[in-house]
Amino acid sequence: MVYKRDPKKIREVLGNKVQFLLGDMACVYGGLLAGVSFFGGYPITPASEVAEGMARMLPRVGGTYIQMEDEIGSIAAVIGAAWGGAKSMTATSGPGFSLMMENYGFAVMTETPCVIVNVQRTGPSTGQPTLGAQGDMMQARYGTHGDLEALAFAPSTVQECLDLTIEAFNLSEKYRNPVCVMTDGEMGHLRERIVIPDEKDLKLINRVEATISKNKYIPFTNSQTVKGSKVPDFPTFGIGYHTYVTGLTHNEKGFPATDKQKDHERLVKRITEKITDDADKLVKVEKFNLDDADTVFVTYGASARPAETAMEIARSKGKKVGLLTLKIVWPFPEKIVAKLAKQVDKIIVPEMNLGQIYHPVREAACGNCEVEVAPKIGGEMHLPVELLKYLGVK
C-alpha cells in the first residue's frame, strides 16, 4: 500500500494543539505534518528520541519506520524511499552524520529530496554524546566530496524545530536536494511550549512529478513543466518512465558521462545554480534592534538564546547592541551580512564551536567591520555574562 497523507489521522496521533514538547519530538511532529511516510534511523544520543517518536507514530499514520543497520543504511533507505515516492527522513548526530556523508553527496548528485536532522553533539569523534554543540555546521556544507550547494536550517526554539522541519521538507521537495535541520543536544533535549499549526495554515510543497509523455521526457534537465525552473520533474519509480539514476556524472538522459567535461560542467552547474539562483528568496533571518546598532551578534540555533539575553542586558545599560539570527544557515545570507558590516563597528559570532559560521561572516563583512568569534565548547551553552564581556559590559 502506498502512503497517502491523512491530515485527520496525523492530528489524532499528534494530540493536543498546544503541548509542552521535547525538541527532538518537535522534529517528529514537523515531519509527520509535512507528510513524511518513511523514516530510516539508527540510535544515537542526543537524536534517538526522533527515531523513537517515529517508531511510535509512523505506523499509526500508515507510514514505515525501519531501524537500519547503521547510518549509511539509514540515509540510503531514505534516498531509496524518496525514489519510491515517499517524503522521507532520518535523524542522527555527529558520528552518524559523518557516516552519511557519501550518500548525502549521492542525494545531491541524483537530485533526491530528503531531510536529515542532525542533533549535534560535541566532537571530534565520540566526543560528549549527551552534550550539545554546533561543530557540524561546516560539515553540512563541505562534508561530502565535490561541488555542491547545501540547504540547512538551524532552529533556536522547540517551536522552530517543528516549523523548520516542515520548511526543510518544503525546500527538499522544491529543489530536489537533501536538506539538513541542524539542531543540537541543547535544542533536542529542551522542552518548550509548542503550538501545532492548523491544517489551513500549513503550506506544503510537493515535488513536481513528471507528467510529460514518455518519449519526450528528459530526466536530468530543466523542468519540462515549470517554466524557468532548473529543477527537473520527478519520475517516481513505478510510473513507467524507466529512469536510470546514477551518482556518476550523467548527461541529461541520465546516462553515465564519466569522461565528458561538458556534461559534468552542465550537470554540476545546474544542480548548484538551482539553489544559488534563489539565494535571495532563501534568506530566513530574524532581526532584533539592528536599526541603530553599532555592535551586533550574528548567530544561529541554541546560541541565539544567550545572545538575545546578552543583547537585552546590554541595551538596558545603554549599549547599542543588535542581533541577527540565521534560521537558514546554508545558503549563507551573504548580502544581509555584507550590508550589516557596512553599518556597524563590530560583529560578534557566538558559536558552540571554535569558529565555523564565523568564516562566512568574515568573508561577507569583507573588512568593513571588525568580526570576532565568541566560541564555547565542551557541551555548555554560552552564559549571557560571557557574551557581555565581548561587548565590554560588566
Partner: protein, 298 residues
Amino acid sequence: MVEVKTADQLNKKFLRDGMWPTIFCNGCGHGVVLEYTLWALEELGWDMDKTVFASGIGCSSRMPGYINADGLHTTHGRAIAFATGIKAANPDLNLIIFTGDGDCAGIGGNHFIHAARRNMDMTVIMINNFIYGMTGGQLAPTAPLGSIATTAPYGNIEPPFDICNLAKALGANYVARWTVTHPYQPIKSVKDALSKKGFSLVEFLAPCPTAFGRRNKLGDIKKHWEWYDNNTILIEDYERIMNYGTEKEKEEVKDMFPIGVFQDLNNPGFFERYEKLVDRVMGGSPKTPVKAKAVVQK
C-alpha cells in the same frame, strides 16, 4: 506482443536504447547473467513498469543501466539498503539488486546480512568473480586461498567468504549458487528467486578474464570458462560425498564449489509482518494506542 524466441528479440524487448555496447570485456561473465535474468523476467511476464533494479558500484553493478526499467545505481555496497527504502515507499514494486562480490560481501556485507535476517522482500543477484574487477584486480573477500590479486601479489592468505551459507544461516527464503556456464538451472533459479516473498539470493560464479583469469593463469577465455565446470559440483553430490564418501572421494571434492539450491523456504517477508503491525496499531483508537503485548518468540 511478439513472442520472444531469440536472444535478439529478448534484447530488443528489455534493453535500454542508447546504452549499448556494454562496458564488459571480452569473455566477461556479467553479460550472461544479464541475459539469464532477462529470460527469467520474460518467462514470468513481469510488468517492467513495476520492476526496479538497484546496484552498487563495480562492473557487475552496471547492469541496471542496460535494462529498460527504473534503475538506481547507488554507492559502493549500499544498494540493498537503498532498495529497502524503495520497497518501503511502494511495496507493489519488485526489487532486483545486481551486485558484485566486492560490493556485496565486502563493503556492503552489513546491509546484506541484515536484509537477509529481516527477510526483506527483494532478490539479490550477486556476481562473484573472486576479484575487484572494475578497479583492476584487487583482492576480494571471496578470493580463493592462494589466488593472486594486485593487492595480494604473493597469494591470498585469507579464507574466502561463502555468501550462500551465510544467507542460509540468516534464514533467507531462497538461496542458490550457479555458474554462468549453463543456462537452464540458473534461469529457473532466478525465476524461483523472483517469485519468492522475502529475501532471495542467487550467486553466480562468473569469469573475469581481465582481472582474475589472466593473473591466475587460468588460460584463454575458453579455458577460463571450462574452469567453472571443472571446479563446481552439485550441492546434493557434494553433501552426499562429504557425509558418506570415502576419504579419497572427499579429498577430490573438498575444494570444489557446491552449486544448486541451498535453501527454499516460505517464511513471511518483512513487509508481510510490517503490514500486520500497521493493521494492528491503526485499528485501535488513536487516543489510546494498542498496548504492545510482549510475546518473545524464539
